[in-house]
Symmetry: C2
Subunit: 83 residues, 2 copies
């Protein structure tokens, strides 16, 4: 259901591809707005044409249900038109 | 002169601290706008209250003068009011 997501060093992470730097940065801003709305913030790694989104719950030293909820919302967001 | 910059795995990198996620994301956008203007793009790693900016020149498999020029401009940008 979320094929691009993977476990990565205690976090769940997905890498999305884009046409260029600016488009990847625009996606980072969309993810950032979602993170503010959810009050659950990922780590983002951004480069030319790619954005990696990584969720973990530092308070519990691993993953929580909030990480999976947030990942699912990011997956929907970045699959949507305009992503 | 650029005390926060370091060599990191063949790149030059600096980590800046911010009050929260949104402020770090705003700084990433400022760096992104500079990168577009310079046509030289860093890798950015963004988390709650921190932004790491990393320049390397993939074409030459290491560092070029453009990386140092761009790093200096980012250093000025993020030292300026509004950063």
């Amino acid at each position: 259901l979320l094929p691009s997501w993977r476990l990565d060093q205690g976090a769940i992470a997905a890498t999305y591809r884009f046409a260029d730097f600016a488009t990847a940065l625009a996606a980072a801003n969309r993810v950032g707005a979602l993170a503010e709305a959810e009050n659950h913030h990922p780590d983002l790694t951004l480069g030319w044409g790619r954005l990696t989104v990584r969720f973990a719950t530092h308070d519990v030293g691993g993953l929580s249900i909030n990480d999976f909820r947030a990942a699912a919302k990011v997956a929907r967001l970045l699959a949507a038109p305009g992503a």
